[in-house]
């Protein structure tokens, strides 16, 4: 249960090795945390994440196996986690950026990206929503992206999965309105993580820690959407009004 200061006791992360998600977990006050579940594919990175959070003095960190594309398994997984205790905050943080040119050439690859980023998130999101609804409280945090705000030549396949996910998150939030269960849609810009390693930085680039802090603040205020960093809201609003011929010619 969240306490009066909005501090959660139990956090569930889908995409348990995501750098943004781990930074978000760390941005919560540690004193009240007693259960942090990292749902991810088994890997050395996952073991390291459990060890690192534990070393930071966070109590009750554990890992469970999760494959975004195995949608038929999501229901049982979510139920097992919630049956063991209420979850205050659930982060949907898995995703792949993909390789746009390769995907254009081999549509099967594009389907993979869509299955992970959209279908997988839709599936987990709905299972979690059911459980938040029956426990009567809790927030689902959906990591969308500014890439979903307006499709760009360079990453419209990834962008389209995020556009779908973003619409899903907003609609789910409205469906749950007034039930104690909530959805926060997060739209990061360029965040320096392994996902963007080696890429040229875009304007308003930030570190995962900055995103984590914004997410925690937005949760405390009960916000429904948040850009990370905040000023991206205005940049994106401007970009969305650009005529197609101009937008098409923008670099990157």
């Amino acid at each position: 249960m969240n306490d009066a200061l909005g501090e959660p006791q139990a956090i569930l992360v889908f995409g348990g090795t995501s750098e943004i998600a781990l930074a978000t977990v760390r941005a919560f006050p540690r004193e009240r945390l007693r259960r942090v579940i990292l749902a991810a594919r088994p890997s050395a990175g996952r073991d390291a994440a459990v060890a690192a959070l534990t070393a930071d003095g966070i109590a009750g960190v554990c890992a469970v196996d999760f494959q975004a594309q195995a949608t038929s398994e999501h229901g049982a997984l979510v139920d097992a986690i919630f049956d063991a205790g209420d979850i205050d905050v659930t982060l949907l943080a898995f995703g792949v950026l993909g390789d746009q040119l390769a995907e254009e050439a081999s549509p099967d690859l594009a389907v993979e990206v869509a299955t992970t980023n959209y279908t997988g998130a839709l599936s987990v999101g709905l299972h979690v929503a059911q459980r938040l609804r029956s426990q009567g409280h809790g927030t689902l945090v959906v990591f969308s992206s500014v890439a979903g705000d307006r499709a760009r030549r360079s990453n419209y396949i990834y962008g389209s999965t995020k556009a779908g996910l973003d619409a899903f998150g907003q609609g789910l939030g409205d469906a749950l309105h007034g039930t104690g269960a909530k959805v926060l849609v997060v739209r990061p810009g360029f965040v320096r993580t392994k996902m963007t390693a080696g890429m040229a930085e875009a304007p308003l680039s930030v570190d995962p820690e900055a995103v984590g802090e914004l997410v925690v603040k937005a949760l405390r205020k009960g916000r429904e959407t948040v850009y990370a960093p905040g000023p991206l809201r205005f940049l994106m609003a401007g970009l969305k009004t650009l005529p197609r011929p101009v937008f098409r010619k923008l670099p990157r």
């Binding site: 249960m1 306490d3 209420d86 029956s134 409280h137 104690g180």
Partner: protein, 454 residues
């Protein structure tokens, strides 16, 4: 176990008086003991809980996803003047009890700072009043209570026979042992519905405390208001007793036992969030302090003015804005009386705008394992939940309180850690054993119980 996602009929978002951390529940009005039994027997996996008038500040009277029983229609009030006993439905409010018995020359054994609580809530939280040093808690005056246990069976519990362990487990048990449907408790005989009140304005905290140590025994009721803005910790001590007939003027004597208080005004739904800030609270506290006479004896006041000044403004809890607030209330033994000043200093250190800070001395504890009061000092301060730095300061104070052998009041708590709770209520294990007998399936639960692993 699938579920419609959008809000369904009968579901309500519930919070405590502090308006923090809401959760959704199925609110079920019950009009008879049989309905309560049925509601308990058919409770789903998220369990069941009784909510009184929701005057607990935190998450004691809410339970996400559960069935929350509203017993306000189980509100009969029978007064046996000869025996000096009231038998009331657990959903009856103390306000209604007073309206019934005061005109007949009787007063409730204990009243908190508001009358807008139920008999069930008074026993569930084992509430205390300004007379704790003389009369103890509300629970100490209960002769018998009816409880629907976790199996839906009706039990009669009282402090004197083989049911006494279950009785004391239910007193202060925060609704976790079952649903009380009625209770019988004793009353204080009164000649008038007025209070004879002495007021003293004192310039610093140490002096306030010294006055209370020496003066408390002379009064049945006493409490001090502390100005949290001033570094001195100056305060106003009000003490009193029920006025006798000969203390009233002729005019007052003609309505000696009249009792019909009105709720004055409703605080508007949307206060501007910044209304309660350092400056307004400072101004309020200054005015409040100056308003009190330096030293006045035997002033005649109404019951409402003396005990329940805030009941005159409905929904005053909205003044703290949408972020809500909490009340930090601890007790520490006399050996740690300096913690009162430490707490006030720390709260002032983060500019906590608190205008309802109350200090009182407790008498001895009763046998209930989870009852809050025990001998020493209790301080209660309201603070807005969104105040920067609040979490850290309160966690530090928690440690000091625990180290000193003190603890926090569950009816006010909305943020302590499970470790703090278990450490400061050492009889928890003993309490849990009897609770498990009363509720073997664990159907009675609340957000508070989940948060603190009770």
């Amino acid at each position: 176990m699938t579920q419609e996602l959008s809000l369904q009929q009968g579901e309500q978002l519930l919070t405590g008086w502090g308006r923090t951390a809401p959760s959704l529940a199925q609110v079920v009005p019950c009009t008879s003991t049989a309905e309560v039994q049925e509601a308990v027997r058919t409770a789903g996996p998220r369990g069941v809980l009784v909510r009184g008038l929701g005057r607990s500040y935190g998450d004691a009277a809410q339970s996400g996803g559960a069935r929350v029983l509203d017993l306000q229609s189980i509100n009969s009030i029978d007064y046996d003047a000869e025996a000096g006993l009231v038998t009331a439905g657990a959903g009856a409010s103390l306000d209604a009890v007073m309206r019934t018995i005061v005109p007949l020359g009787a007063f409730v054994p204990v009243t908190p700072g508001t009358r807008m609580i139920t008999v069930g809530g008074a026993i569930g939280a084992d509430v205390h009043g300004k007379n704790h040093h003389v009369d103890g808690t509300f629970g100490a005056h209960v002769r018998q209570l009816s409880l629907v246990d976790g199996n839906g069976e009706l039990r009669e519990l009282n402090p004197d026979d083989s049911t006494s362990a279950q009785f004391w487990t239910t007193i202060g048990g925060m609704g976790l042992t079952g649903a009380m449907t009625s209770a019988c408790f004793d009353v204080i005989p009164i000649e008038t519905s007025r209070m004879s009140v002495d007021t003293k304005r004192v310039d610093d905290l140490e002096e306030v405390m010294a006055h209370m140590v020496t003066g408390d025994s002379r009064y049945r009721y006493t409490v001090a208001w502390i100005d949290t803005v001033s570094a001195s910790g100056r305060g106003i001590i009000t003490s009193g007793d029920h006025a006798s007939l000969d203390q009233l003027s002729d005019k007052q004597r003609s309505t000696a036992l009249a009792f019909a208080p009105k709720a004055l005004a409703s605080a508007p739904n949307l206060f501007p969030p910044g209304l309660l800030n350092k400056l307004t609270v400072k101004a309020f506290n200054e005015a409040w302090f100056r308003r009190a006479p330096l030293d006045r004896a035997d002033e005649i006041q109404s019951i409402g003015a003396f005990f329940h000044p805030l009941d005159g403004v409905q929904n005053w809890n909205r003044v703290y804005g949408p972020g809500g607030f909490l009340q930090y209330q601890f007790v520490v033994p006399d050996s740690a009386s300096e913690l009162v000043r430490v707490a006030l200093d720390r709260l002032r250190g983060i500019s906590a705008p608190s205008f309802l800070t109350v200090l009182k001395r407790f008498g001895e504890a009763n046998p209930a394992p989870l009852s809050f009061p025990k001998t020493g000092w209790t301080l209660a301060a309201d603070v807005p939940a969104g105040l920067p730095g609040l979490g850290t300061v309160l966690d530090e104070l928690d440690d000091l309180v625990a180290d000193a052998g003190g603890r926090l009041y569950l009816a006010k708590d909305s943020r302590q850690s499970p470790q703090m709770f278990a450490r400061t209520y050492p009889r928890l294990g003993e309490w849990q054993k009897i609770r498990d007998e009363l509720d073997p399936r664990g159907v009675f639960t609340s957000d508070l119980a989940r948060r603190l692993s009770i």
